[in-house]
């Protein structure tokens, strides 16, 4: 069912939804960007449709909601660990098609990777519904079409904002009643069919050991190992776990997990001080291979969804997208 309404009218419905759901969406945080007088766009709780950043692509991704940067897993009391009980909250998340496809990658990593499900992720995920934002343009560095992530269908509502009006596609029966009495409109989400950039992913059978040792990776030693690409990536799921004892009371503390990045120093440090992949070029290789090779071998699809945020944010102008095309070229040369 489709509807059309003004922003104020939608905000009334937004208010009703807020009673049951914590609503998250990309939000512009004024002057909180990397450089002075620039903005940040990241996922935060929003309380009205005006707060939703609909026009620009967010710098950080919706994974922040389901997999927070820092998450307490256990409270520690002396020798005892007590698992954190997630409150019974329900979540609604506004996101774009690439990011909705990325949720499927997170599901694989947290729920279908081995026999154990990640409880923390699961508790949030099973109570989460999605509102798909129609992309009115393909942004700089997007390559969703190449990754087949320009389209999605497992969303509850689809929206488009144009001329201060909001168009809605309601797919989830749960929300039908809310819109009774609103003006009907024949609207369904339209998807981006073409990006500025095309990326060709290699066949995994063509990736041979020689490629790992290829000199092409040396060009990426210019990576400074900052981790922006991983932290903004909607599909990176690495974390590191630490026990922290509070300064005020050393018998109490928490076990906390925190995002990790395979580009940042320390990622491959082992007990005893041994560390793999010391040069950043080999970290680039590790990331790229995880995105388009290792993950695919396990789950049958690419991990990368082509959102292009890694290219958007790299301070060294390293293009991951260009790197994939280079890898594909190499596999053809070698074949």
């Amino acid at each position: 069912m489709g509807y059309k309404m003004g922003l104020k009218e939608f905000d009334k419905i937004f208010e009703i939804l807020s009673q049951d759901y914590e609503i998250y969406g990309p939000k512009t945080i004024e002057k909180a960007g990397r450089f002075s007088d620039t903005n940040n766009i990241r996922y935060e709780k929003i309380s009205s449709i005006e707060e939703l950043e609909y026009k620009e692509k967010s710098l950080f991704s919706p994974k922040d909601v389901l997999f927070p940067v820092n998450e307490t897993m256990f409270n520690i009391e002396g020798e005892k660990l007590k698992e954190i009980e997630e409150e019974d909250k329900k979540y609604l998340i506004f996101l774009r098609s690439c990011d909705l496809n990325a949720i499927d990658r997170l599901d694989n990593m947290f729920l279908k990777n081995g026999n154990i499900e990640d409880n923390y992720y699961k508790k949030k995920r099973q109570n989460t519904k999605f509102i798909l934002m129609e992309c009115i343009e393909s942004y700089l560095n997007c390559f969703c079409v190449s990754m087949n992530t320009n389209k999605a269908d497992n969303y509850s509502m689809g929206i488009k904002l144009a001329n201060d009006e909001i168009y809605l596609e309601i797919k989830d029966k749960e929300f039908d009643d809310l819109f009774k009495g609103c003006e009907k409109e024949n609207y369904t989400v339209k998807f981006i069919e073409e990006n500025q950039h095309k990326v060709e992913v290699p066949n995994i059978e063509d990736i041979k050991l020689e490629l790992f040792n290829d000199e092409m990776w040396e060009a990426y030693d210019r990576c400074i190992g900052c981790g922006r690409c991983n932290f903004s990536c909607p599909t990176c799921t690495c974390f590191t776990t630490t026990d922290i004892y509070y300064d005020e009371n050393k018998t109490k503390g928490e076990r906390r997990r925190t995002w990790a990045s395979c580009h940042v120093d320390g990622f491959s440090d082992m007990a005893g001080g041994h560390s793999f992949r010391q040069n950043t070029g080999s970290r680039m290789r590790y990331k790229v291979m995880h995105k388009i090779y290792n993950y695919k071998k396990r789950f049958g699809e690419n991990m990368c969804v082509g959102c292009g945020r890694c290219d958007d944010r790299c301070p060294e102008y390293i293009s991951y997208a260009k790197c994939i095309n280079l890898v594909t070229e190499k596999t053809r040369e070698e074949a």
Binding site: I29, E30, K31, A32, G33, R34, F35, S36, D37, N40, R42, L59, F60, P68, V69, N70, C226, G227, R228, F231, T242, I244, R256, T258, W259, A260, S261, V264, D265
Partner: protein, 318 residues
């Protein structure tokens, strides 16, 4: 039969040069920024009436050299469109631009390139320089003011009577911090070593921090942000020269734009009260030295409504 009033010439931003019969005109470009279309005017003056050369001054203006004193009226007329664009347009009160520059004592307000371009800058130095130009020019008293985006101080604010240095007033949200240490390592390496790690999170020593904001530029998760209120470090009475050269010292921290402008304006009253009669070019710094920091402070802060968080130095050791 050249008969000129050298004092009037100098107030008109012309110089009495070593070459008999020739003067040079200083063109003010507040913030050191201007639309490129003023260049043909400079070219025309330099080639038709000057010796064909332009000199870029230390304060980021232009000096057109080799102009004949007789040609000053026509050169003033030619330079008028530049005065319209760079001074009148930003609110400087000038009655008739065709008379040339109305004063030269208060020098061009210089600026580093600031946050239009530079990743380190904490504010728009060019805009602020222009605001100051509009607030204090034209004036015959010898004041030097510069705005710089961060404590790197590329414009040498520490050599001015008033140097304005941007402060980031950083905030840290540990919920976004992944403990990568990029900020900590960078601060130790390039800044003041104000940051350290404690149990995976960052601690900032506010005594050491100079509010440069580099942690904000380094943090991959933007756990660091700048304050949205613009605040500055105001350093005063720096000078080069023969008598006791010195760097400017901190007068105020966490001060806002309006207060800075008011303080500079107040200082004109202070100087008018205490300047040695007949020594129109006496540097403010020497006057402050003579009358004492406390007297200066009393005048400078008159009717200034400082933000609550502003700190003024109670005593000053130069």
């Amino acid at each position: 039969m050249l008969d000129i009033n050298t004092k009037k010439v100098m107030k008109n931003a012309y110089r009495i040069t070593k070459r008999r019969g020739e003067t040079a005109l200083r063109v003010r470009t507040p913030g050191g920024e201007f639309p490129a279309d003023i260049m043909p005017i400079l070219t025309e003056i330099a080639t038709q009436y000057g010796d064909g050369n332009l000199h870029i001054t230390t304060r980021q203006g232009f000096e057109i050299t080799g102009i004949k004193y007789e040609d000053m009226p026509i050169v003033n007329e030619l330079v008028a469109p530049i005065i319209e664009k760079l001074q009148k347009h930003i609110g400087v009160k000038i009655d008739n631009p065709k008379d040339g520059y109305p004063a030269a004592g208060t020098r061009n307000i210089s600026a580093c390139i600031g946050n239009e371009i530079c990743p380190y800058a904490n504010y728009n130095t060019l805009e602020f320089a222009k605001k100051i130009e509009a607030a204090i020019y034209p004036h015959d008293l010898h004041f030097k003011v510069a705005t710089t985006g961060c404590p790197n101080d590329c414009v040498k604010a520490r050599m001015q009577d008033f140097g304005i240095i941007g402060m980031a007033n950083v905030k840290y949200d540990q919920n976004y911090c992944v403990g990568c240490q990029a900020c900590v390592k960078n601060c130790a390496d390039r800044c003041t070593g104000a940051l350290s790690m404690h149990k995976g999170k960052v601690i900032r020593n506010k005594e050491l921090c100079v509010e440069c904001g580099e942690c904000v530029t380094r943090c991959p998760t933007q756990a660091w942000t700048r304050s949205s209120d613009k605040r500055f470090r105001l350093v005063i009475m720096g000078r080069t020269g023969k008598k006791d050269p010195r760097l400017a010292q901190e007068f105020a921290t966490n001060i806002d734009m309006e207060s800075i402008i008011k303080i500079i304006q107040n200082t004109y009253d202070f100087v008018e009260e205490y300047i040695t009669p007949g020594k129109a070019k006496e540097h403010i710094g020497y006057i402050v030295d003579r009358e004492g920091y406390h007297e200066f402070k009393k005048w400078a802060l008159k009717d200034v409504k400082l933000p609550e968080e502003t700190k003024i130095k109670p005593y000053m050791e130069w």
